[in-house]
Symmetry: C2
């Protein structure tokens, strides 16, 4: 499995993904699930992926190829806006899913993937989409300023409680890391290292990007402090 | 869906269940999912159910009938110990599942259910089992002193952090209610009122039972205090 979370805030887009992939429980590997595309001054786009690696890798490879091919109508670096970027990602995902599924049907198996696509193009608003395996998508709004893919349940309560459109980037970083921390703790199929990125509003560039390794002392401290804080909070609650 | 959680602690068994059942999103009803069987001084047994109501109601009805039929070998009130109680519940669940599934196969549908069975018989240890739809089961141990059925993910992080075999009953009550609170908040298919019960070690009776209505002020206060405490804990964490 996977856990990826994206926030669409007044201050910008915040993205966090894990890197664990597994085929069964005994075949675990580390693969990047966050892909950043930028043309500084014109646009910055982040894509996060969940699901079958054979599908997500092919989709990202085709998107990358389309960017390099000046004639391709499917370049997300040349698309006129974020809606068209989501449509290109959706169409590519839908194509690859149908090709792979055709092959897998013979074995009575199937494979799917979903993606979070977020960013901003010059002159347009910041937008964030969740693209389904079929290629259709939904969009984050101020009422629901976060989207998740993969193993999303463990880390949802903290987001439900603290994330709103006006949340600061510093609080947003804490919130997604704590949401990931709960998921890592409760589900083996989500694993370190993590990829973290921020695209600030109107920066038209990836403002921060960071890989957080299992040995990262700041993350370890945050995780430890949060456990402590939760236990203290728990101790303070009056019994019924 | 459903959320039921059971704790097997040194001090006793703690059980909590919601009461929401739904067929689709537009057909919601309230049904008890916790069933208590006791013969004070001899045994106390709690059963919680998740899954298809047509299966769980029939299982509970058959178990109740077997208790009233002096010749039935499937009486959980006459079984020599908790292991045999789990076996009887498993066998009954397996029978009913297979009968119902036989009928549903014609419509290309299926139905399943799972159960948590916990309690103590005089002279034996307290035990808690999770019975799968097939009738087989696993047992809680001091290493893993809680079992969950239904919508278990949202409420697991708090249990992972605070529950150990030596947790007091007062803390356990708080923990299961907060675990339920996170689930209620994040998932529409889990709903109030709640059923709560405690079987203290060697009491051989249900020591506490309580229905918590949506208007329950103590639960509302706990829920509100926990939100506040979480937000304060969040505010205290240093950003990375």
């Amino acid at each position: 499995m996977t856990y990826c979370v994206g926030l669409l805030l007044d201050a910008g887009v915040v993205l966090l993904s894990d890197t664990r992939t597994n085929a069964g429980l005994d075949n675990i590997a580390t693969y990047r699930k966050m892909f950043l595309f930028e043309q500084p001054g014109d646009r910055a786009i982040g894509i996060m992926t969940a699901g079958s690696l054979s599908i997500t890798q092919t989709v990202i490879a085709r998107l990358t190829e389309a960017n390099e091919d000046a004639d391709s109508p499917r370049s997300i670096l040349r698309a006129p806006g974020m809606l068209q970027v989501a449509e290109i990602v959706g169409a590519t995902l839908s194509d690859v899913t149908s090709e792979v599924s055709g092959k897998m049907e013979r074995m009575n198996q199937s494979a799917t993937a979903s993606m979070i696509v977020a960013g901003q193009r010059k002159g347009g608003p910041m937008r964030m989409f969740l693209v389904y395996p079929e290629g259709n998508f939904i969009e984050a709004t101020p009422d629901t300023p976060f989207l998740q893919i993969g193993e999303h349940k463990y880390g949802k309560p903290i987001l439900d409680r603290v994330i709103a459109a006006e949340t600061t980037l510093a609080d947003a970083e804490k919130a997604v890391l704590l949401s990931m921390d709960s998921t890592l703790r409760s589900n083996l199929s989500v694993g370190m290292p993590l990829d973290f990125a921020v695209i600030e509003r109107d920066a038209l560039a990836v403002t921060r990007r960071r890989r957080i390794e299992p040995t990262d002392e700041a993350f370890q401290k945050m995780s430890h402090d949060w456990s402590e804080a939760l236990r203290n909070a728990f101790a303070e609650i009056d019994p019924i």
